[in-house]
């Protein structure tokens, strides 16, 4: 069961007494094989949970780094079907690392929600984060996902107050993703104080683990936020390394994969909860 893998991972990390490192990369960026190679190397490099972006033509919540990643992946012919295939390929070697797909609703809606959920479960996907589905639209995906045991990760943000949080948590599962800034991915750096206050508020209302993401770029950031959250998400900083290691024709530098994984390793080592 998909949700089990997420729950088992957080239970194991609790035993170890540390927070999870969650990495974000876009499926098919810059090409299928390179992206799959990175994916396969992530757990050993220190990723506890993998967020895999489903590329979309109009990524409204993303900053320049992830926009560019989406474009590279789409140019390389990435589709929802191939994204699921990538998860299937990953699962032949790793059955324990949770995979969360992150993206926008339209490609799933066009695939067909029920078909998508069935195919994603079969491929080994554990949870979904769909940025443009607030709780007001839970009927679209969150409720059908709940029925089949797929994790549906909801977002809380700096604009979320206590009343609204209650509403968000109603159909949330897996963990809660706290968006640390009001803004798009990979831009402003969050301040620890307000994020801590928000997480305290969240913990008063739910026992779900809390992940923090948006704007977390460096090992120092990761370490700081790992003190207050159950998981820390790094996305744009990883994706930028991919962007910096492709040539003008969009071909990957042979060192690209190892450079990405080396960077992830510098983050992973430091995710320790005291």
């Amino acid at each position: 069961m998909a949700l089990d893998r997420i729950e088992q991972k957080f239970a194991a990390l609790k035993e170890e007494g540390r927070a999870a490192l969650v990495t974000f990369t876009t499926a098919g960026d810059p090409d299928y094989d390179t992206a799959l190679g990175i994916l396969r190397g992530l757990p050993a490099a220190g990723a506890d949970i993998i967020e895999l972006g489903m590329p979309f033509s109009d990524p409204m919540a993303d900053g320049p780094a992830i926009q560019a990643a989406s474009i590279r992946a789409l140019r390389g012919g990435m589709t929802v079907r191939r994204t699921l295939q990538m998860v299937r390929d990953f699962r032949t070697q790793d059955q324990t690392t949770p995979i969360i797909l992150m993206g926008y609703y339209n490609p799933l809606y066009i695939y067909g929600v029920d078909d998508f959920l069935a195919d994603a479960l079969e491929a080994g996907v554990d949870g979904l984060i769909i940025v443009d589905l607030p709780p007001e639209e839970d009927n679209e995906l969150a409720l059908p996902a709940k029925e089949v045991g797929m994790g549906c990760i909801h977002l809380a943000t700096p604009t979320t107050d206590e009343g609204r949080l209650n509403h968000i948590l109603k159909n949330a599962s897996g963990f809660l993703y706290y968006v640390s800034i009001a803004g798009i991915t990979g831009t402003a750096e969050p301040d620890l104080g307000p994020v801590k206050a928000a997480i305290d508020m969240i913990r008063r209302q739910t026992a779900l683990p809390v992940a923090v993401g948006f704007g977390i770029k460096s090992p120092e950031n990761v370490r700081a936020f790992a003190e207050i959250a159950d998981a820390v998400v790094v996305g744009s900083a990883i994706v930028n390394i991919i962007g910096d290691n492709i040539d003008q024709e969009g071909l990957a530098n042979p060192e690209l994969g190892s450079r990405v994984l080396d960077f992830v390793a510098t983050l992973g080592l430091r995710v320790n909860k005291i």
Partner: protein, 401 residues
Amino acid sequence: MTKNTYRDGPDDEGRFGIFGGRFVSETLMPLILDLEKAWQQSRSDPAFGAEFDALLKDFVGRPSPLYFAERLTSHLGGAKIYFKREELNHTGAHKINNCIGQILLARRMGKTRIIAETGAGQHGVATATVCARFGMKCVVYMGEKDIERQKPNVFRMKLLGAEVRPVTCGSQSLKDAMNEAMRDWVAHVEDTFYIIGTAAGPHPYPELVRDFQSVIGTETRQQILEKEGRLPDSLVACVGGGSNAIGLFHPFLDDDTDIYGVEAAGHGLDTDKHAASLTGGRPGVLHGNRTYLLMDKDGQIEEAHSISAGLDYPGIGPEHSWLHDVKRVKYVAITDREALAAFQLCSEYEGIIPALESAHAIAYVIKLAPTLAKDHIMVMNLSGRGDKDIFTVASALGTEI
């Protein structure tokens, strides 16, 4: 159960049938709910209505005339054609009606900074205009490609004190400008109000834009009754996002009036270069609402094409999608070439240079009117004036200015 009205949408969830909704990121949701609350209070507040009406009268110059297009009527030899002269409004198009309404809402909500997206530049100019009038900071997102083809409007916006930010991602036109405006919005929720230019986006935008633009249809009803003693037999308007069309159509939806919405067929519906989301697209989710969209089989949004920057958008307002599905409005499509011919014909026969957007509606009138009886009364929304388009038209006609 049969519906006895087409005018009661949207429902509490912001839906017109399956269309509409609130497909936005969580960061924006509290703001969207605040906007809905402010809108519900405003629409029932007589003081808000009185201020809106006074500004439309003295700042915009309403009511706009309903004009009998005598020479075009006699040239086409069929239906009696009236133009609703929205191009005579201050700033030259219908866009200003909506901007006045939204900036009053922004002020009521205590916002001090306005953002907008623009394609042809008409909505950008209208937004910059109301920002100058109300002393608010204004940032307009515009695709680089559109900045190139709409230089006069870019300069107008700057004269009015707005900052025009070029959008270089994606297709560099209206949809990308809208993405970029939404990215700005999410990063400035505290002080910023997003004035969306068409009857689309997350609920309550499609509803409130329609209601602000419905002044077009409400005036038309009264004016045609004065001139003809009865309601029109047909209405025609161009549809990109569809705000001028829904503004004309909505007050007539429950009447015995044939209604035509005209989409942009670009190089033709059988090519991949058009902007006809109803005739050539299918339902999907983008920019906060479910509606008909142009996309590939994987759900990736495709670039639209039209000679008219204002119709160059791969989606359409959700109420139009619903009116299409329930078959209350008939949606047709007109090519770039037909629109250009109509642009010239209207200029030569009526002494009115229409916007290329409106020229699509005229082109359909040119097709339809000759097939109808002489006592058939047709009203077409002349939504904007064409001064902004003379460079595009000159280049399409192979003329240098």
